[in-house]
């Protein structure tokens, strides 16, 4: 009985302390409007932007973030593999920022095609996409790597 409890406790401990969510090779890219003019961001910086904590680009332009609905598999994949957080955590951060006067939550769009069109048309905007081919006119793929 005692060893059963010990094993259960060890299992719980393992689950609690096991490492962060494993990053996978994501086919999802960060898409930015050409006015953003920043080419590489660290993973932590990307997370700050999509969490709504970075509200302005270094050039003073307002950051506008577009995301898909939380129930969309691409959004879940983006959260897990790129931001390395769970969608509900992101939503909790947005609520906290929105309802404490700290900024705005991202704009939710209906489809990837809609996202691409909105990023292309909105200066200072950022989103993500998983479509093949070159990014559409007015946008570019923002790299995730070493901090600038």
């Amino acid at each position: 009985m005692q060893s059963g409890i010990s094993r259960a406790l060890l299992f719980i401990l393992f689950v609690l302390v096991s490492g962060p969510i494993k990053a996978a090779e994501a086919a999802i890219h960060i898409l930015a409007n050409e006015s953003v003019n920043t080419h590489t961001l660290s993973p932590a910086q990307v997370r700050l932007i999509f969490a709504g904590r970075t509200q302005f680009w270094p050039n003073g332009e307002r950051v506008k973030v577009f995301v898909l609905k939380a129930s969309e598999p691409i959004h879940t994949e983006f959260c897990r593999n790129v931001l390395q957080i769970y969608p509900y955590q992101l939503e909790r951060i947005w609520q906290r920022i929105t309802y404490s006067g700290q900024g705005d939550a991202p704009v939710i769009v209906n489809s990837i095609e809609d996202m691409v069109a909105k990023v292309a048309a909105t200066p200072g905007s950022i989103g993500y996409y998983n479509l093949d081919g070159a990014p559409p006119e007015g946008t570019y793929i923002l790299n995730i790597g070493e901090r600038e």
Binding site: L41, Q45, R53, T54, E61, A70, G101, G103
Partner: protein
């Protein structure tokens, strides 16, 4: 009054909606929550053991961004929580947000005005129903009798977020004071008190750390606050001061399907005062408490909650035995502690709509009111329950 407050909120809503359409720099949001609630064998929420509609929260907030450095943010709310806090409308926060530094890895904001306290896990949005894990927050930390004072203060606050190789650090510091309504003086002290309690100063500091791409977050916060009693010409209390020192530790772990959070606190409370009856008060006691909360996401729309919350008014007298010898008159021993088990469920049944329900079983009454003045105690039996169901809509 309720109708006036609701009309005010709706008018503000329409005005903001029309302004927002014309101005990209203005953003606004709001919430509306109405429920049924009941406290059984206690006057914590209701007096007569019956279900009541006194579970109303209506709020509207707006942020106007002047430029990349300065914004103005504010929130107006109307609340009816039964006996839990003062019924009516209030400005929860209204501050100028100056972004002193804003780099990708480091940001610093200075808030001037009625700033929002952000020092505990849920304090940044404890006034917003859909952001809370439960309808009623754990009373050991988020003591409803103290709601307005804990939520915001008039003064300055500084907050900084730094992202580095070791993870993300948030540091918050604030200095201010909270205005207290006259009825709150009567609630804190005694219905016979004619003067006013004034908060001289509240000084807070907190820091939270989250390792890079880890699901753990840990934090610590410190609070120091002083109060002075300003007596009326005819009064039971001739003078009085009190001071509170609080230490809080917080931890949260997020998993894919569940979340665990816990906050522990230690409060040192000092009261000094002279009463007309010749009684002199000089009390120094330290309370301890905290909660452990587990939430399980049963599906994308349904969340279950289990929480244990505990508070001892005096760590040297955990069973309340010394309350028999209270200088202002004996107090039942079960006012020396309060233990609560809460079970709840939330269902997001439509976009931006939620239905929450919860039940709490309580032992003791040590967190219902200040356990010092026998005639200001909120009535409760040694064991009592609360039930609440609340509909929430937000935009």
């Amino acid at each position: 009054m309720k109708r006036l407050a609701v009309t005010g909120c709706v008018s503000l809503f329409i005005m903001l909606a029309s302004c927002a359409q014309a101005n990209d720099n203005l953003s606004w949001h709001g919430f509306l929550a109405q429920g049924l609630t009941r406290s059984q064998d206690s006057a914590f929420i209701t007096d007569d053991n019956t279900f009541s509609r006194e579970l109303t929260e209506i709020g509207i907030n707006a942020t106007y961004t002047f430029n990349s450095s300065v914004s103005l943010a504010g929130q107006l709310v109307y609340l009816d929580g039964g006996n839990r806090y003062r019924q009516g409308s209030r400005v929860d926060y209204l501050f100028v947000d100056w972004r002193v530094a804003q780099y990708f890895d480091w940001q610093m904001n200075l808030h001037i005005g009625r700033y929002k306290n952000r020092h505990w896990l849920y304090s940044a949005t404890q006034d917003v129903p859909q952001t809370r894990p439960s309808i009623i927050l754990p009373q050991s930390l988020y003591y409803d009798g103290n709601r307005d004072m804990a939520l915001s203060s008039d003064g300055i606050a500084l907050q900084s977020t730094k992202v580095g190789d070791s993870g993300s650090w948030e540091v918050r510091w604030s200095l201010g004071r909270s205005p207290l309504a006259k009825e709150e003086t009567k609630k804190f002290l005694s219905p016979l008190a004619q003067g006013r309690v004034k908060q001289d100063l509240v000084h807070q500091f907190s820091t939270y750390w989250q390792p890079n791409f880890s699901q753990w977050q840990v934090g610590v916060s410190l609070l120091q606050s002083d109060f002075t009693y300003k007596p009326a010409e005819q009064d039971i209390l001739l003078n009085g001061t009190s001071a509170i020192d609080r230490l809080t530790l917080a931890v949260r772990y997020d998993s894919e399907n569940w979340e665990f959070s816990s906050e522990l606190l230690r409060d040192r409370l000092r009261y000094k005062g002279d009463f007309t009856e010749g009684v002199t008060l000089d009390i120094d006691k330290t309370g301890e408490g905290g909660y452990a909360q587990f939430r399980y996401f049963l599906s994308d729309s349904i969340t279950g909650l289990v929480r244990i919350d505990t508070y001892d008014v005096d760590r040297q007298d955990r069973d309340g035995a010394l309350l028999d010898l209270n200088p202002l008159g004996p107090i039942p021993r079960y006012y020396g502690f309060m233990d609560t088990a809460t079970f709840g469920v939330s269902w997001d049944f439509a976009k931006q709509m939620r239905l929450s329900g919860e039940y709490s079983r309580n032992r003791g009454a040590g967190r219902l009111s200040t356990v010092l003045f026998p005639n200001s105690l909120i009535q409760a039996e040694p064991y009592w329950n609360t039930w609440s169901v609340q509909f929430m809509y937000w935009f």
